[in-house]
Subunit: 347 residues, 2 copies
C-alpha cells in the first residue's frame, strides 16, 4: 500500500452540475485526506469562481491546482464524436494526466460511454485483458457486492466473463480485505444446467482457476442477500440489475413519502422515523454510493454518477484515492501477466 501523496485529476466540468458540485466536493476531499492532491481540469475562470466561494479553500490551497481546458464533452454526446472532436475536453485532459503520470487517477461525472472510450484509447488495457469493464458496489443485507460489467460490454464471450470475475476478485481482495472473495456468475438459476453456452463455458474457466473462489451461479436476488462478494455478468444484465435496483429503491422512496403524507398520524410517525428512512435510502440506492470503477485499464478511472451531489462526488474521489493506494491497476496487471506467462510456458 502506497502511503505517499495521491494526485487525482478531477474532470471539473463533467456531470449534470459541473463545477458547482465538483469544486466544493474536491475541497471537502482535500480537507478529509491530507495526502490528497487535486488537479481541477476545466475552464479556469469557472473553477476559480467556485473555489473562491468555498470558505475552506485557503486551508487546502497548496494541494489544489487548476489545469485550464476549453472544451466539454456533453452528457448526450456520442463517444466517437467526443473522441475525435474534443481533444481539449476536461474529460480527455484528465485522462491524459494519468497517462503522463502527472496524476495517479481521474474522476469524472461525465458521459459514461465517452469516458470509457477515451480511457481505453488513452490508457490502454494491460496484456491478457480484452476489454475494460465498469464495476459498481451494489448494496446487500450483509454489506456490498462488486458487480461487473455494468454496460460497457453488451455481448460478452466466456473468456471476457472470466476476466471480469478475476478483476472483481482482485478488487475485492484489495479493497475489502477479503482473502478469498466469493465469486459468482449471474444467471437465471443456480443449477449447473441453467443459462446459455457462454455462461456455462465461463463457469468452466472459473472452476479451473485455483486463484478464484468460484461459488457458482447466482440469481439477481442473491446479490442483495449477500451471497457473493463479486458477481460477473455481461454489460446488458449488469445494467439491468443496477437500474432495477435503483428503480425499486426510488419507487420505495416515493411510496414512503406517499405513506407519510396520508394523514396526521402517519405524518407524525414519519417524522420520528425519518432519520431511519433517510439512512435506509442512502443504504439502498446505488446512485448514492457513487463511483463506478473502470477496471482493466493502465490507470485508475472512476465514473461518478452524472447527477451526483457534493457528498456523492467526494465519495467518488475517495474511491479513486483508495484504489491508487491499493495499487489496483498493478495488481491486476500482475495477475494477468502470471496468466499470460503460464499460458506461454504451457504452449
Amino acid at each position: 500500500m502506497k502511503t505517499s501523496s495521491v494526485t487525482v485529476a478531477v474532470d471539473a466540468m463533467g456531470g449534470d452540475h459541473g463545477v458547482c458540485v465538483t469544486v466544493p466536493a474536491s475541497i471537502d476531499s482535500a480537507r478529509a485526506n491530507p495526502r490528497l492532491h487535486l488537479i481541477l481540469v476545466g475552464d479556469k475562470s469557472s473553477i476559480e469562481n467556485e473555489l473562491n466561494k468555498c470558505r475552506d479553500f485557503s486551508a487546502v490551497k497548496d494541494r489544489i491546482q487548476i489545469k485550464h481546458t476549453t472544451e466539454v464533452v456533453a452528457m448526450d454526446e456520442k463517444p466517437s464524436v467526443a473522441m475525435r472532436n474534443k481533444k481539449d475536453s476536461s474529460m480527455r485532459i484528465s485522462i491524459n494526466l494519468v497517462k503522463e503520470k502527472l496524476a495517479d487517477a481521474s474522476v469524472s461525472a461525465g458521459n459514461t460511454g465517452a469516458l470509457m472510450a477515451v480511457s481505453r484509447f488513452v490508457l490502454k488495457t494491460p496484456p491478457g485483458i480484452d476489454r475494460p469493464a465498469i464495476v459498481f458496489n451494489i448494496p446487500s443485507v450483509t454489506g456490498h457486492c462488486h458487480l461487473l460489467d455494468l454496460g460497457a460490454n453488451i455481448d460478452c464471450s466466456a473468456e471476457q466473463l472470466y476476466q471480469f470475475a478475476l478483476m472483481g476478485s482482485i478488487l475485492s481482495q484489495a479493497v475489502d480485505g477479503i482473502s478469498a472473495p466469493r465469486v459468482g456468475l449471474l444467471n437465471i438459476g443456480t443449477e449447473e444446467t441453467k443459462g446459455n453456452e457462454v455462461i456455462k463455458e465461463a463457469a468452466d474457466l472459473l472452476r479451473a482457476d485455483p486463484r478464484i473462489n468460484y461459488i457458482g451461479f447466482i440469481e439477481a436476488d442473491g446479490i442483495f442477500r449477500g451471497e457473493a462478494d463479486v458477481v460477473a455478468c455481461d454489460g446488458f444484465s449488469g445494467n439491468v440489475t443496477l437500474k432495477a435496483c435503483e428503480g425499486t429503491a426510488r419507487m420505495f422512496s416515493q411510496f414512503v413519502k406517499d405513506g407519510i403524507n396520508r394523514n396526521w398520524l402517519t405524518k407524525l410517525s414519519g417524522l420520528t422515523f425519518l432519520p431511519v428512512l433517510l439512512g435506509l435510502k442512502k443504504k439502498m440506492d446505488p446512485g448514492e454510493y457513487n463511483g463506478g470503477t473502470m477496471i482493466g485499464l493502465r490507470g485508475v478511472v472512476i465514473k461518478s454518477h452524472g447527477s451526483a451531489d457534493r457528498a456523492s462526488f467526494a465519495t467518488a474521489i475517495r474511491l479513486a484515492a483508495l484504489e491508487v493506494e491499493k495499487n489496483i491497476p498493478h495488481l491486476i496487471e500482475d495477475w494477468f501477466s502470471d496468466k499470460t506467462e503460464s499460458k506461454a510456458s504451457e504452449g
Copy 2:
C-alpha cells in the same frame, strides 16, 4: 366478456406448501366469486382432509370437485423428466383438464420449467406464435407494468421479442382496459443506437405494426417509474429485472426491521408506522403480487409463486378467472391470425 361460470383446475399438490395453501385459498376464492367453480387436482384424501378443516367449505361445496391423481412434480425436478415420467401428476392432469375443455384455466405453484414444458406440450401455441412467454405484473409508482418474458426463453430472436410485445399489449388492453397500452423494449439506454442488433430489429418490427403503441427503448428503472404499460425483453433480462426488484424489496424490508429495532424511540415510531410499511412491502414485492401468466398458449395457465401463502394463491386463482372472462387466449389467437392472414395475402 364471458359472464357465465368459470372453471379453474387447481394443481393442489404444487408449491412449497401444497394442499395446506392451495385448498384454503380455493375455498376463499370460491366464496369471493360466486361464478367460480374449482377442480382440485391431487391426492384425494389429502385434499379432503384439508377441505374438512375449512369451516367455509360447506358454503361452496357444490362448486368444488376433486380430481384424484397419484403423482406430484417435485419443485427441483427436470422439466424433461416431469414430462416423460409424471403423466398422472397433479400438474399434468390440471393442464389436461384445460385441453379437454373440462376447465377454462389452470393454476399451479409448482416447478416453473415443468409447468411451461407441460403446458406447451399439452395445450400448444396458436399459429403465428413461436414460443409462449411468462408475463408478470411489476409494480411501478403509477400502477404496474406487464413485463415479459420472465425466464422461459433465454435467447430470443427479434421476431420473438415482437411477439412478446404484441401479446403483452393485448393482455394490457383486456385486463387494464387501456385502449393503446404504451409498449417498450428493455434496453440499456433509450437512444435508438443502443443495444444489439436483435433489439434494434425488434424495434423496427414494432414500429411497423400500427396496432402497437410502441414508445421505444426503456431502461429497467423506467419500468418502476411507470413509463410503459408493457415491456418486452428476453427471458434472461426479464428474470434479472424481476429478481433484482424482489431482492431490493426484501433487502429494504430487512433494513427497515433493523432500523426499527435500533432503540426504543425507533421501535415506538416503527410501531405507529408499521401499517404503512407493511402495505408498502406488499406493494413492492412482485412475489406478493403473485400470478405469472403463461401467455401464448391455447388456454389460460397461471403460475403462482412457489412460496405463495393462502392470500397470494387466491390472487393467482382470481387472475386465472379474470383472464378467462376477458378471453385472453382467443384475443391473442385472433390478433395473430390477422397477422398470419395478412402475411399470406401479401405473399
